[in-house]
């Protein structure tokens, strides 16, 4: 396949993804439902993995079996039946053309029309390379060759497991070990695909890298695995987007993302999450987005910056975190989490200060509307060794309507005095006066609300790569439509 062919494949796949509420009719190959050692062996064989990977998976599976599904978050979900899902699903052939989508819900069609973009237009921008993950497999990766000329490896994790075993052995599970938590263990056992990025010493990635995740099959869990390594003085900006069709039952998305940065290196990781949030009227269906994202600032003056715009999913449960090990390393977390209707979100960050002179910043903006529940939960910790650690945390919540809730649950732990941690939080509602003011200038109610909310989130939007700031804004307006009045 040539470089251009890749682009085309992406276009055809992604084109269908526009109608993100709907399932693409594609003939797929699926493993039977259920989770056991055989399935894992079969999965590993299917992906032609070397033995080391199978071992890794089986160890994780053994551990997982001993663990209990956690339920401590401020959201409610029923116990999941892990035997009632497929752990592998992939399109039979990439050339398979999806059939017509005439049964599209007008609501979603409308949403799609208004969204009017995103992937194609942006992916046509020369500056962005894409890895598209469809159910369990990576379908295509663009600009691979061009990136390689610069020494940057950008491919699916499946390819990396075969082609770069040394890097995988060294780093996979080094930030999020399979013992970390229930869903990380599950992911380690059954992850199917994801992206791998390696930026060698001194290289600034010449373009933005991006992965687009798509769940298409019903009753399929998605377990992707992302690993990004930046060697000394390297830099990469990475972006992920996600959508899923509309099913009445809940689907589990349990991803693991690991980042490693060495001296003076930086990773900027942005997420625009728009999984199917469930039915607006009944709350039925939607994705359970239970994700473990963590970065290790290993090197001196290394930096990890997480930016997330969370508008989808029935439940979002994740805490993109930084282990600030290297002296003078920096961790940042900028988040907008918007919940509407019956959505629930329990999200925030963990900043663990270990090295000297480490700094972290957390800016979190939670917007709750409808009957939704939005919780910020974050840990900021300074160990004894973290002399002169600094943290600034700001959590603002906005409530729209009187049936939603907003919670703030910070954990601040300080074990040495040369530390300065500050936490500020406030809660407000969208002022009627503000709405009236904007409306009296000829702006419609929906636009006025979107303007106020987007102003509220401005600090975070500023951190997004330009191409996506616009999309994020539009996503917010769409989610909020008809929330007041």
């Amino acid at each position: 396949m040539t470089f251009q062919d890749h682009d085309k494949t992406i276009e055809t796949i992604v084109d269908k993804d526009y109608e993100y509420g709907f399932q693409t009719k594609i003939e797929s190959e699926k493993f039977p439902k259920g989770l056991n050692e055989d399935i894992i062996r079969k999965l590993s064989a299917k992906k032609k993995e070397p033995d080391y990977m199978l071992e890794f998976r089986l160890k994780a599976f053994e551990h997982w079996k001993k663990m209990k599904e956690p339920h401590w978050l401020l959201c409610e979900y029923p116990e999941l039946d892990y035997q009632d899902a497929h752990y592998y699903a992939a399109p039979k052939s990439l050339s398979d053309k999806p059939k017509s989508l005439d049964e599209i819900d007008p609501e979603l069609k409308h949403a799609f029309e208004k969204l009017g973009i995103p992937l194609i237009e942006q992916k046509q921008l020369a500056g962005v390379a894409v890895d598209a993950v469809f159910d369990s497999v990576s379908v295509a990766t663009t600009y691979k060759e061009k990136l390689k000329q610069h020494g940057v490896i950008f491919c699916s994790i499946s390819e990396a497991i075969v082609d770069y075993p040394d890097l995988i052995k060294k780093y996979l599970g080094s930030v999020v070990p399979y013992t970390d938590n229930f869903f990380a263990a599950l992911n380690s056992a059954v992850f199917t695909d994801g992206s791998f990025v390696y930026v060698p010493k001194g290289v600034k990635s010449p373009m933005e890298l991006s992965t687009y995740f798509r769940i298409n099959e019903e009753n399929t869990g998605q377990f992707e695995r992302t690993l990004i390594i930046c060697e000394e003085d390297a830099y990469v900006s990475y972006l992920e987007g996600c959508t899923a069709p509309k099913f009445d039952n809940n689907q589990l998305h349990a991803a693991v993302v690991e980042l490693v940065v060495l001296d003076n290196a930086e990773i900027k990781y942005s997420t625009v999450q728009n999984w199917y949030p469930g039915d607006k009227e009944t709350g039925k269906g939607g994705i359970y987005n239970f994700v473990t994202k963590r970065g290790k600032c290993l090197g001196k003056k290394s930096k990890i910056s997480w930016t997330q715009i969370e508008t989808g999913s029935a439940i979002t449960w994740k805490y993109p975190s930084c282990l600030l090990i290297g002296d003078e390393s920096i961790g940042e977390f900028y988040s907008v989490a918007l919940t509407n209707h019956f959505q629930q979100a329990d999200t925030g960050s963990k900043m663990i200060h270990i090295g000297k002179n480490t700094k972290s910043t957390i800016i979190s903006k939670g917007i709750s509307a409808g009957k939704s529940k939005n919780t910020y939960r974050g840990l900021v910790q300074a160990n004894k060794s973290a002399k002169n650690a600094r943290n600034y945390t700001q959590c603002d919540s906005m409530l729209i309507g009187d049936k939603c809730s907003a919670n703030t649950v910070p954990y601040i732990t300080i074990k040495n005095n040369k530390t300065k941690f500050e936490h500020e939080a406030s809660t407000s509602k969208v002022g009627e006066e503000q709405l009236f003011y904007l409306m009296s200038r000829g702006i419609s109610l929906d636009d006025a609300l979107a303007t106020i909310v987007s102003g509220f989130c401005q600090d975070v939007f500023d951190k997004l790569p330009d191409e996506f700031a616009l999309e994020a804004n539009q996503l917010l307006s769409l989610q909020l439509e008809h929330s007041v009045g």
Partner: protein
Amino acid sequence: MLEIKNLEAKLIDEDLEIIKGFNLTLEKGKVHAIMGPNGSGKSTLSKIIAGDENYEVTNGSVKLNNVNVLDYDATQRALEGIFLAFQYPVEIPGVNNAEFLRMAYNAKQKHHGKNESDPLEFNELLIEKVNQLNIPEEFLERELNYGFSGGEKKRNEILQLAVLNPSVAILDETDSGLDIDALKQVSEAVNKLKSENNTFLLITHYQRLLDYIEPDYVHIMIDGKIVQTGNKELAKELDMKGYDHLLSTKA
């Protein structure tokens, strides 16, 4: 142009009438001033005209070019050409002033079937307006009213007025809280903006503003309705005698 007839209104959820049979017709190309003591309902009137849903109109009509606008929400009224310069403009953090202006401007353009303005083109228009009104350009880059001083907020209201070019402009106590220089600047701006095609309604407590913006009519509002109408001499008289004599004759 704007015809208010037998208007009666109260705060929603409360029984107390604030506007009690108010009649006024704003004429095209004219400047009207409403003066009155505190609590006479002047500001309430302006908010009702703009479409504030905290008030309930129990009787009467407000017609803009013979169309009753009371059924419209605030957005529709603005699109039809009503503009209120607020006494206390609210602060909206994070919203860029220039972008907000373009949004409002384009909403209006679209409503009238005209082309929407792109950022570059609009920027030119803005620069022209701020220069014309002697407003510092840095206003445009700030967040909407956020962190503005009282005087700056009032001037920002006038900038919006200039950009949106309404047919009915209501200035609610725009003079309050302004020092003499700011008052002059705001007045000059208003004088530049008034034309044969629009009408201005100045709501004020003091005669001071009317030294700079000459009204064609002066109306005195007491207890929710107009009690006297005259020309600018009436304002001067009022300034000397105060409202007390009117209140007592009424009683």
